[in-house]
């Protein structure tokens, strides 16, 4: 029978008395560093109350969301993308609410127009009776909201400058404020944020030049002081904080389309049949709801807008 003798304990393996005396320090150290590490986890953002805007005199109210209850204002003004500020939604929206400078502000309408115009925001607010319109809002990322916007048809604004017959598209250029917008330093995308519509889309009565929501002027995060709202398209078409509206002959190169053309098309019509390359668009999560719901073609506005795309292959023109 093989009897194994335990190896003798070498002097070098014996814990020295000092270490032994400090043995509990280790646990304290472990607990301490562990707790510090655990509490230093990215802090879960609390929903910030948006800064109060100015009340707007609303002349009329129309519901375009089948009487659905509007989303919470705190959600709308804290969850979304404003990537000049950050790629992270909550960070971006918080920064935009605090830092975006919206006065003085002018909007320039130029390009293929008879009367190029520069309009101060104060005059723009008085340009036409303000309408409240409750629209569904569907983000390309798969979430959605219901938002009571305040504004007037973009067509009203465009007619101020009398577009020429040669104008086929509208290009919207948004503000850059390097001192306020840290993400303008990112080289992963090409600034400024530019969006565009075909002229008939831009002139469509549902297309809104929004100056407010929930009866007040827009919070910074939602594109103060003037933004585009196109309810049948994914949210990224809704250019925020618009400064220049340019009428052009050719399809403008737009921000997300330049960044990832195979994922974000120029048209960006909400379409449950055409998947994003990385996820299905068949369903969406309405913010405030637990489970996803079905996405509607053209975000539920097909009756009003489907004829704009008659004969087009919407799989190709996504």
């Amino acid at each position: 029978m093989l009897i194994k003798h335990p190896d003798p304990i070498l002097p070098s393996e014996i814990t020295d008395a000092g270490v032994y005396a400090r043995r509990r320090d280790f646990l304290r150290l472990a607990i301490g560093t562990g707790l510090v590490a655990a509490s230093g986890l990215p802090l879960l953002p609390a929903r910030a109350q948006p800064p109060a805007g100015e009340r707007l005199a609303v002349a009329s109210r129309t519901d375009y969301a089948a009487l659905e209850k509007p989303s919470d204002l705190e959600d709308v003004s804290s969850y979304g993308n404003y990537i000049e500020f950050s790629f992270d939604k909550e960070t971006a929206m918080g920064l935009a609410n605090r830092r975006l400078r919206v006065r003085p502000w002018t909007v320039r309408i130029e390009g293929l127009v008879r009367q190029p115009k520069t309009i101060a925001i104060e005059d723009l607010l008085r340009l036409a009776p303000l309408e409240e319109r409750v629209y569904r809002h569907r983000c390309v990322e798969g979430w959605s909201m219901v938002i009571p916007w305040v504004g007037f048809p973009l067509a009203t604004l465009l007619r101020q400058a009398e577009p020429l017959g040669s104008a086929k598209y509208v290009e919207l250029v948004t503000v850059t404020q390097p001192e306020a917008m840290p993400n303008l330093r990112s080289r992963q995308v090409e600034w400024p944020y530019v969006e565009g519509l075909r002229l008939d889309e831009a002139m469509h009565p549902l297309t809104l030049a929004a100056v407010g929501m929930y009866g007040q002027t827009l919070p910074g995060a939602n594109g103060a002081p003037l933004r585009l709202v196109v309810p049948w398209k994914y949210g990224y078409k809704g250019a925020k904080s618009v400064q220049v509206i340019r009428l052009v002959e050719h399809e403008p190169a737009t921000f997300w389309n330049k960044a990832q053309p195979e994922e974000y098309g120029f048209y960006a019509n909400v379409n449950p049949e055409v998947d994003h390359p990385r996820w299905s668009q068949a369903r969406e999560r309405r913010i405030g709801e637990f489970f996803k719901r079905k996405t509607l073609p053209f975000n539920g506005y097909a009756d009003q807008v489907a004829q704009l795309y008659a004969g087009m292959d919407l799989r190709r023109h996504y």
Partner: protein, 225 residues
Amino acid sequence: MGRFEVLTDRQLAGLKTVLFLLALVPAGRLAWGAAQGTLGANPIEAVTRGLGDWTLNFVVLTLCVTPLRKAMGWVWLTRLRRMLGLFAFFYALLHVTSYVWFDQFFDWDEIARDILKRPFITAGFAAFAIMSLLAATSSNAMVRRLGGRRWRDLHRSIYALALIGVVHYAWMVKKDISLPAAYGAAVAFLLGLRAWWRWQERQRQLAGAYLKKPKGRVIPISVRR
């Protein structure tokens, strides 16, 4: 002799308890945040992503065990490795559950389509499948059943699953890949270390091939014929 090289069984048991409780903190914070409504406008997304982040964190921590043991001489670290690995699986399981339940509501057809069609889901699912296998074979009984060497070879697939996990994250993000890139760098470093050790060991063995007595552990080198 460095500090903390030797721990008594009691100290180790204490350390394990502390680690166990700490590892539950992120899950607890997410659950608490969900209950209190402090996870922002899209709490389900916050939960799913938080669970995914912590899966990767624990995979990286598990991969840190051996380098840290070698650097510090803390042999007992290896005895914490299984717990770290199982916590990675714990968070992965919750992450997948969140996707299957809240995102897809058990629509298995849709889930199958997702796995086949969407590369980032395919990658995530592959990493989860490997991880499940490792979790299932993590017990001492399984080590004995498989035999030490086969068990070790199997569990080296954590290298692959860590890389696949990072790819899963990188393919999911919209534009900004700085966080996936940071995880990628950490994993690349930790795997690179291992490749480097292996290379060193090989050099050492080749250099010492004609010495009388090889020293230390020998990694078998397969010779190509």
